[in-house]
């Protein structure tokens, strides 16, 4: 079988389920809204990082990206849907690759637009406090943010294929994202630096310390996403549908 018809079919699946484009819209709305709020908050904190403040809407907003990836896969695990899909496309590896592609591309594009909008909205609020930001840093922040959101969506997609459930995936990932961000917080130099969200969010910061930089941090997130996708593909190929 050729890959193109499979890609088209999977893309049609995403478009024809209202909740999936809805999740991407929520990603945009939640991220820009939280960034706008962050833009008008206190900026005298000594740890103030104007780039991270501007893009901080991603921390809650990424839950929508994660939901998008998880739901796109978990819709296949409801009442025999997977059997129908695999009867149409019996090459499971190819089918799952197409599924990952139609999750990755929209997540990346919406992620880039979202990051740009969040930065602009937050800068309008921050005013002179963000004047120190260089163009390069801002491009890195926006591009990195889009890639980060895509990787988190793929990470969730891989987990959903492995666990065969969107509910299980989200109840694992959402507390994890919230706990890591708010409980472990700014503690650096621990193994927590290598968690998928913590490592990937380094790309959103103007200044950073520790072993990982912005791009190497994003690479760590990419490794997590690749591992989850491979585990999901392995489970899909090995188990009865």
């Amino acid at each position: 079988m050729e890959l193109t018809p499979v890609l088209r079919s999977e893309w049609l699946k995403i478009r024809t389920l209202r909740s999936l484009p809805g999740a991407l819209l929520a990603l945009f709305a939640a991220t820009t809204a939280f960034s706008a709020i962050a833009g008008v908050s206190e900026t005298s904190d000594p740890g103030f990082d104007p780039l991270f403040t501007a893009l901080s809407g991603v921390v809650p907003g990424q839950i929508a990206a994660v939901s998008f990836g998880a739901m796109a896969v978990s819709s296949e695990f409801q009442s025999g849907a997977l059997r129908l899909s695999l009867a149409a496309v019996p090459r499971r590896g190819r089918w799952f690759a197409a599924k990952a592609a139609v999750i990755a591309v929209p997540a990346l594009l919406v992620g880039l637009v979202t990051a740009l909008a969040a930065l602009l909205v937050a800068r309008a609020g921050l005013g002179p406090a963000a004047d120190g930001l260089g163009a390069g840093e801002q491009v890195r922040g926006v591009v990195g943010c889009g890639v980060y959101l895509m990787l988190m969506a793929l990470f969730a997609a891989g987990l959903a294929a492995l666990l065969r459930s969107g509910v299980a995936t989200l109840s694992l990932l959402i507390p994890f994202i919230l706990v890591v961000s708010f409980v472990i917080g700014d503690a650096t130099g621990t193994v927590a630096d290598f968690l998928p969200d913590k490592a990937g969010q380094l790309v959103l910061r103007e200044t950073y310390d520790g072993t990982l930089g912005p791009w190497s941090g994003l690479a760590v997130t990419a490794l997590w996403a690749a591992a989850a996708l491979l585990a999901g593909a392995w489970s899909l190929r090995r188990r009865d549908a």
Binding site: P5, R8, L12, S79, G80, R83, L84, A88
Partner: protein, 306 residues
């Protein structure tokens, strides 16, 4: 045309054998009824044929090829496994478009099968608003999408209204008449008898019968004759002379067991018995099936190795 070939097929889930050394062929040009009680292995066999489950041993092929090797498989094999497989939030038309696109089937064909299954007027409604009967029709529409040479339907009559039952019967006859290979599982005997030419019967994962339906019934159920007369005494003695045993019913008609209607007609005529009514009572598939399964039950109540 393509046949379904099942060869020494075995599937174990943990320690249970859902399918146990099955071998049979489903040939084109006729409707093969796939019978057996719940849990006999009918659905498992269909999943194995579609490459959805992996066999523990043996093989299932379509015209000599394993299902996953088929290029654009929906153009070769159409299957209905579960009427609930369509996502409730999609419209019926979008559901079929998704399937069609993956096998490069044009959207025009989607509208054709919607028309054929009587769903055209509700095609843009979300599947969650559908009744079970409508979902069955949608599942059948999906099976017909690629105009396949092999059609496999698991319990297609479930939830259909009386019109739907007649429709599916005619559809199955037509598909077989066009030379397609048609395998239809059911646990409704009278329903299966109305469309099947051939039977494959399973019990506990094993093959119990693979035979033409008429032969299956005739081998297991002796036909009887229904007769009504105005002169019971003459009838009884005429039958007794030819060694036939007749049973009288309260409403006045008689049943002659193990007899053919031609013979009884001649006997009555020769003896000058006035006949008011004479009819053959063919054995039913249900009777034949229960004869087979009760024999099987006796066989299987023997203690087995665990």
């Amino acid at each position: 045309m393509t046949s379904i070939d099942v060869q020494d097929l075995t599937k174990e889930y943990g320690s249970t054998r859902a399918v146990d050394g099955l071998t049979f062929r489903v040939l084109p040009g006729r409707v093969t009824g796939f019978l057996g009680p719940n849990g006999a292995g009918k659905s498992t066999t269909m999943r194995l044929v579609l490459g959805l489950d992996r066999p523990t041993a043996g093989s299932a092929t379509l015209g000599g090829r394993a299902y996953p090797e088929l290029r654009e498989p929906l153009r070769h094999v159409g299957a209905l496994l579960d009427a609930h497989a369509a996502h409730g939030s999609r419209t019926a038309r979008d559901h079929l478009r998704v399937l069609a696109t993956s096998n490069r089937i044009p959207d025009g064909r989607v509208d054709e099968v919607l028309e054929e299954t009587g769903l055209a007027s509700v095609a843009r409604r979300r599947v969650r608003t559908y009744s079970l009967g409508m979902r069955q029709r949608l599942g059948i529409a999906a099976a017909l999408l690629g105009d396949p040479g092999v059609v496999m339907l698991d319990e297609p009559s479930n939830g259909l209204d009386p019109e739907g039952i007649v429709w599916i019967r005619q559809l199955l006859r037509r598909l077989a008449g066009e030379g397609r290979t048609v395998l239809v599982s059911s646990h409704l005997m009278n329903e299966t008898a109305s469309f099947a030419d051939h039977l494959v019967v399973l019990g506990r994962g094993r093959l119990l019968a693979d035979t033409p339906m008429r032969d299956f019934i005739h081998a297991r159920v002796q036909p009887s004759v229904r007769i009504r007369t105005s002169d019971p005494a003459a009838l009884r003695s005429a039958l007794a002379r030819h060694g036939h045993d007749a049973v009288e019913h309260p409403d006045g008609h008689w049943t002659v067991h193990h007899a053919r209607v031609d013979d009884i007609g001649r006997i009555a005529s020769a003896a000058g018995v006035p006949v008011l009514e004479l009819a053959a009572e063919e054995g039913t598939l249900e009777q034949a099936y229960f004869d087979l399964t009760s024999a099987e039950a006796e066989f299987t109540t023997q203690p087995q190795e665990a």
